[in-house]
């Protein structure tokens, strides 16, 4: 009997798509029932307690107005799998019928484990009511394989060959044997990063695992990332970002800015730019900010009736993109990889370059970038379009959002707590990392961030990535590889020490060459891991070098080099809102503006005693 139940479950084209573990779980609750011809199975408005699969016979559904229809699919009672409490129709056996009956509670389990089933059953119910089979069309999602398989093959070949080569020729390096083994592990890790063979966090875990298993350094060293200040600050920022986004506060902020700012082209650009800039500290991924802001860009192009592909629409796209990305390097919590650089600072650097000091120390670069962006964009995209924003519509949108909700207040309180805490840190002497931890605790205690969101919305893989990198660098230093590297790169160290200006130029070229193949994060991690210890030895403040690597590594010329631009590009492919060629040319100019911002900061850093 059991076997036939299983067969009948698997015969249903919707239920059979469920994973077998969830089907096995509900199996004990599935029963077979028989109904005589004319027998009512349920009535309209009765509590929807069961979902049915027809095994034999015929069933007809009768609406409260008396309209009869036959089953379009071999199932009925789909209401029991939805949030509806009651059946919409009667179900009557037209002939003697055998059905499988699945209780509502079992369906809830099944739907929770198979979210797509809910939609399939909704379509099934709609088909019954319409009297014809409504097909669910699934858009063919074009999956991008990046990199292409041949690149992957090359990448895996390197990942296999590099460690072997290092192990084979390691003796020539004249370093301890455990350092040679670690270098081999590191080379495989870097290769996986550069060729994007797996998700970013997996190579770091490989390095931790291999180092731990082989006992190359003490566990406290290689796992130090998990106990670092940066870990806690990253976790707290991710949590705050989750509350800001899911509470709707960020969307309300955008609408409010648009409503308050004057209705001119300049202020529209400024508003969108400021919105991106305002959420930069609280949403710690550029991709996350792009996902949040870019739909708003499209909304604005529509509501302002901007001419597609023209200068005004392109300038708005630039404002959107630069607003959310231009200050990434200047704000510690704006990008996950900033925490990596923070984690690579020596302890006194981590004490000093906390959130506010990080921002103040990079303020000249921020001002220069902002000025170049504003002035150049004004000339580059000058136009005579007269856009009109319907403030009434924005006001209606805001009205629909209603008053600030409790979770929005909680997000605001979290932000205010961090800002006040950081500004008054010289009084209470609590490090920003612990302030952010307190803020996280408050959000959890008050239920503003629930367990499900903490589990699902916080990017735990990034935290593993961060801890992996920090551990790798700690092991690098423990094994003395930083000094070995410094000794083996005397030219670079000399340039760094004796001609820092030229070194910056060389670094800019080097970064752009690496960025042709490697993604932003991998470029930053590898260069920072190698050069920051070298900076310490060469008498250059490691923060200065880390910051320069961060700001220059964000340079990109071709779309594939920047994952968060690809998100904007995807939107533009559908809407053709802005002129991409013009956008890319402007972006190329901004890459050189980054270099100019670094040079402009040098006197300021000298004044601060950092150079």
């Amino acid at each position: 009997m059991q076997k036939s139940i299983i067969e009948n479950l698997l015969n249903d084209d919707a239920v059979s798509k469920s994973n077998y573990q969830s089907l096995a779980r509900i199996l004990p609750q599935v029963t077979e029932q028989q109904f005589a011809a004319g027998e009512t199975i349920y009535n309209a408005n009765a509590r929807a307690e069961n979902f049915y699969l027809l095994v034999e016979g015929e069933i007809k559904l009768v609406s409260p107005q008396g309209r009869e229809s036959n089953l379009v699919n071999q199932r009925f009672g789909e209401e029991a799998a939805s949030d509806a409490d009651h059946y919409l129709t009667d179900a009557i056996a037209a002939t003697a019928a055998v059905v499988l009956c699945i209780p509502r509670i079992a369906m809830a389990t099944l739907v929770a484990a198979n979210p797509a089933l809910k939609t399939d059953l909704l379509f099934s119910l709609a088909s019954h009511l319409a009297g014809e089979k409504l097909e669910r069309r699934t858009g063919a999602v074009e999956r991008k394989h990046s990199p292409h398989p041949p690149t992957k093959l090359l990448g895996w070949s390197c990942t296999l060959a590099l460690p072997l080569l290092i192990l084979f020729f390691g003796d020539r390096l004249k370093i301890e044997h455990n350092a040679v083994i670690f270098l081999a592990i590191f080379s495989a890790t870097v290769s996986m990063w550069i060729f994007s063979l797996v998700d970013d966090y997996i190579p770091g875990l490989f390095a931790l695992l291999a180092t731990l298993v082989m006992g190359l350094v003490p566990a406290s060293v290689i796992l130090s990332g998990f106990a670092s200040d940066g870990f806690m600050m990253a976790l707290s920022t991710l949590a705050l970002g989750t509350v800001v986004v899911t509470s709707g506060l960020s969307y309300r902020l955008m609408l409010t800015l648009l409503l308050r700012l004057p209705n001119t082209q300049f202020w529209h650009f400024t508003g969108l730019f400021l919105t991106g800039a305002a959420i930069t500290p609280i949403i710690p991924t550029a991709n996350g900010r792009t996902a949040l802001i870019s739909p708003f860009y499209i909304d604005m192009v529509d509501s302002l009736h901007l001419q597609p592909q023209a200068a005004a629409a392109t300038r708005l796209a630039v404002a959107c993109f630069n607003g959310l990305s231009l200050f990434s390097a200047m704000i510690l919590t704006s990008k996950s990889v900033n925490f990596v650089v923070f984690g690579l600072l020596p302890p006194q650097g981590q004490d000093h370059f906390q959130w506010m000091t990080w921002l103040i120390t990079s303020i000249v670069a921020a001002i220069v970038l902002l000025a170049i962006n504003a002035i150049t964009a004004a000339f580059w995209f000058r136009n005579r379009e007269k856009p009109k924003l319907s403030k009434e519509r924005v006001a209606e949108q805001l009205h629909l959002l209603g008053k600030l909700k409790n979770r929005e207040w909680a997000a605001l309180a979290g932000i205010a707590f961090m800002v006040v805490g950081m500004v008054t840190s010289s009084i209470h002497k609590v490090q920003p990392s612990w302030l952010s931890f307190a803020m996280l605790f408050g959000l959890l205690l008050c239920g503003s961030l629930n367990k499900k969101e903490l589990k699902e919305k916080v990017d735990w893989t990034f935290l593993l990535y961060l801890s992996g990198i920090t551990g790798i660098v700690a092991a690098f230093s423990f094994l003395g590889l930083d000094k070995t590297l410094s000794a083996s790169l005397p030219g670079l160290a000399d340039y760094m020490h004796n001609n820092f200006e030229l070194f910056i130029l060389l670094l800019f070229v080097l970064i752009n060459l690496i960025r042709l193949a490697a993604p932003i994060n991998a470029t930053i991690v590898i260069l920072a891991a190698i050069l920051m210890p070298l900076a310490d030895i060469s008498g250059i403040n490691p923060w200065v070098l880390g910051f320069i690597i961060l700001i220059l590594s964000e340079a990109w010329f071709l779309p594939y080099q920047c994952s968060y631009y690809l998100q904007l590009q995807e939107l533009n492919k559908e809407r053709m809102a802005y002129d991409e060629k013009s956008f890319l040319r402007f972006n190329a100019l901004m890459n050189f503006a980054r270099l100019a911002a670094v040079y402009a900061s040098l006197p300021y850093w000298k004044m601060l005693g950092l150079l």
Binding site: P347, T357, S426, H428, K429, D536, M607, L608, G609, L610
Partner: protein
Amino acid sequence: MKIKPEKFLVGLFLVVSLVLFAWFNVTRPSILILHSYDTEYAWVRDINIGLNRVLGNKYIYHIRWYYMDTKRHPSKEYKASAGIAARRVIEETEPDVVIAIDDDAQKYVARYFINHPKIKIIFAGVNNDVSDYGYDKAKNATGILERLPLMAMQETFQIASNFKSLDHPIRLAYLGDNSETVSGDLKQIQSFNWSPLQFIAAKRVNTWPEWQAAVEELGKQADVILVTGYRRLSRSATVSTLVPAKEIVEWTEAHSKIPVISGNGFYTEEGGMLAIGTSPYEQGEIAGEKALEIVEAHKSPDGLPIVSSNQFIVTMNGSKMKARGFSLPRVYEAAARTGDKYYP
């Protein structure tokens, strides 16, 4: 709006907790330990051991460490920048006590806070005079001076069997680099009454070839060479890269015709034969104790006397002593072993 009692209590718990955390931190005194050098320098490491012995209850006070790293980067420009950066840290954090260690921390940082209304200065590892930094006129500064154990050295030279057969007074020469520390050391050495020993020469050099030549030259004139600072030797007159300390000491031990003895304990760790050095542990411990008297007993620095180092350590490399035939009473070896500073 009506607030549910449970929510009110949760909120109250959160607010009370945060207020208590904040109060605890606001009332907790803070101490900044400012080193002139870097963590890899053995002298710094041993001073930190002394400090940590005393400042054990870290939860009672907030401790922050800062390293200026001027030993590895001795240029004036770097020191000036490191000084500005360290002063910024002090201005931003306003610690209750700054423990400034070694001369660069005094010259480039601590002296700028003399008679500061809030910040108290404790100095340690100071080879120069207190007046060089204006501490003699400061009401908010006290500390411990680093003084070479010259009397102990004098006794050691007299007791060493190698020199007993000499038909003339033991001739002592000094060799050092051009660092601030060596200036202070040299002042002490030159003003000390070495009698019945004869202090015949003091040489300070900038480069590695000059050092090598000096070792050879002094070997012809003296019976023993005393060294203290040698970390600021450039590779040559044209290459400014510093020569690693280990390379200097090992070469000196191998090429000097006469015994070379140091006034710094870490000399043997870097390959030397014997050192009778100022105790870094004492420097750390006294500085830590004075800091506690200020932050816990609320004493004023001008009520705490400035003291000079009183303890010294013996560090010894047994095989190098044997190779040179340099012998001392067994109690020296016992002292080195007790301090875990005997290298077989």
